[in-house]
Symmetry: C2
Subunit: 316 residues, 2 copies
């Protein structure tokens, strides 16, 4: 059994690869990304491939009869897809389609776990939004993810792939540096203060986010992968269980966990462009479908911060 | 002012062109289709272009600074898109995207009236479905239309086009011959008996359809075109007003209008493949948004049949 992870050199991709390595049935793990993935695991099981998601001949070579599982994590992030419309369309829509075509070409209906996003929703919809609520994305990133979801469902219905579509909340706390995602600050306002650095928060304290920790996200990917297709029915979309927290509550949790000096390193400087994008995302979703299917959830934001501190070996 | 109609040689496209000719502001009407459109109007105002919707250089030539209005009617119909997945994707998704790109390239945000479909819904969704209900199409045609709707909305949000997305009910009564649409019988069971021919009905009498007459559809296209963009808001999708009728009620209306001998020409022969596709479409929708915006509706199926008889000059 081979697993392919697109975006495999990224933070979640590398974590996922390490989790897959714990299971002996995954004899080989291929990490496709635009950058090489180093130090993930032994060379006899882990292969890093540098290449483009829209390269159909590369995908056809990578996805073969042994490829039982594809984890599709690669994407142009929200801020970049908004700034460069054509790049977002190319990677997030055409790239996903190229991947689906390569899976179809393999001929054995590979299992595909697709990382979609809460950004398919728009905050303008009233009431508690579930998988039965219309998606009306107000960002190009959300549109591209929503279109990719449709394709995932139809390729599954046609028997070309066996897709599991996960609408990921905002993942926090991400290690490393800020990125071009409009939600980048949701990690930065915890991570930078814990590193003794200043973080700029571009949204107001009452902005409400729907968040998920990296560790629970990886757990969710595994549950999604292992779920029998019959339990999904014709609509393979799932809202992953999230935690609804305001940015002010995130800061308060940081203060409880790491003290007043940490939270004072957050500089509140509203950026209208980012605030506008974040405002289009829902601060909470109906995740009862995923919960009923056995997906795990985070308990509170304090624990998310504590888990980050533990995994990064930070001394508070 | 130039109007471009894709699918312009088709039955609705030709009717729409004739309606546009009544308005002097449309100096030129271009009919793009895979077949020539003849006898639509005077050569100094009507141009028939034979070409492919996915031909980007052709589209770039056709959509210029004068093209204020684009009516996008061309599509691979439901039955064909299901039988030939790649052709449906190419025309219904890539073709729509090519058209949007050509409009974007023109640089003046042309108005685009897009013919989407009730097939974006699936009958599995409970309750009365509106534009706020998730679309979960169970046909490739529906998936392609739903993805095209997303693109229409985002190209509008970005200011590339000014789209009006109309979810058309099943259009009946269409003149001419049966086509590869799974809904073809909805015209055939009226049209063929009125022509003294036998029609095969592939679905049961209690199958419920959401239908619209051709004349009212053309009225709706004009209302959609003329609507100020500000009245649409960020979600440009509209369920066109329909009539909810069972196939048995359609037959009963035919009997009232044209007599018992007409309805006896319907042969009830269930086709599981067609019945299954039709069963995924809703038999009724919430059309209150379109009604509030001033879109017209048909009153009953008897009048739809009477209008067909009158327009075709049939003697009953």
């Amino acid at each position: 059994m081979t697993a392919l992870i697109t975006g495999g050199a990224g933070f979640l991709g590398r974590r996922l690869a390490k989790r897959l390595l714990e299971r002996s049935e995954f004899e080989r793990i291929v990490l496709l990304d635009i950058a090489p993935a180093t130090d993930v695991g032994p060379a006899n099981r882990v292969t890093s491939v540098v290449g483009d998601l829209t390269d159909r001949s590369l995908l056809a070579r990578l996805i073969d009869a042994d490829t039982t599982s594809v984890f599709h994590l690669a994407a142009v992030v929200s801020g970049m897809a908004e700034a460069d419309f054509d790049l977002g369309m190319k990677v997030n829509l055409d790239g996903t389609r190229a991947l689906l075509e390569a899976c179809r070409g393999a001929g054995h209906c590979p299992r595909v776990v697709f990382s979609s996003s809460v950004a398919v929703y728009s905050n303008s919809t009233a009431g508690r939004m579930s998988e039965l609520t219309a998606v009306t994305p107000q960002t190009s990133y959300g549109i591209q993810k929503a279109a990719a979801e449709l394709l995932m469902n139809d390729y599954s219905r046609k028997g070309f792939v066996d897709a599991r579509i996960l609408r990921l909340p905002t993942i926090t706390v991400r290690p490393g540096r800020p990125n071009a995602a409009a939600s980048s600050f949701a990690s930065g306002i915890v991570r930078e203060p814990l590193n003794g650095e200043t973080a700029v928060c571009p949204v107001d304290r009452d902005a409400r986010m729907w968040v998920l920790s990296p560790a629970t996200a990886i757990d969710c990917f595994m549950v999604a992968h292992d779920l029998p297709a019959g339990r999904l029915g014709p609509n393979r979309i799932l809202n992953l269980p999230g935690l609804s927290v305001s940015v002010g509550e995130m800061a308060a949790a940081l203060e409880r966990v790491a003290g007043a000096q940490a939270v004072q390193r957050i500089r509140w400087e509203r950026d209208p462009r980012i605030a506008a994008m974040v405002a289009t995302w829902p601060g909470a979703l109906d995740d009862s479908r995923a919960i009923a299917l056995g997906f795990p959830r985070d308990r509170n934001f304090d624990e998310i911060i504590q888990a980050y501190i533990a995994s990064e070996g930070i001394t508070v």
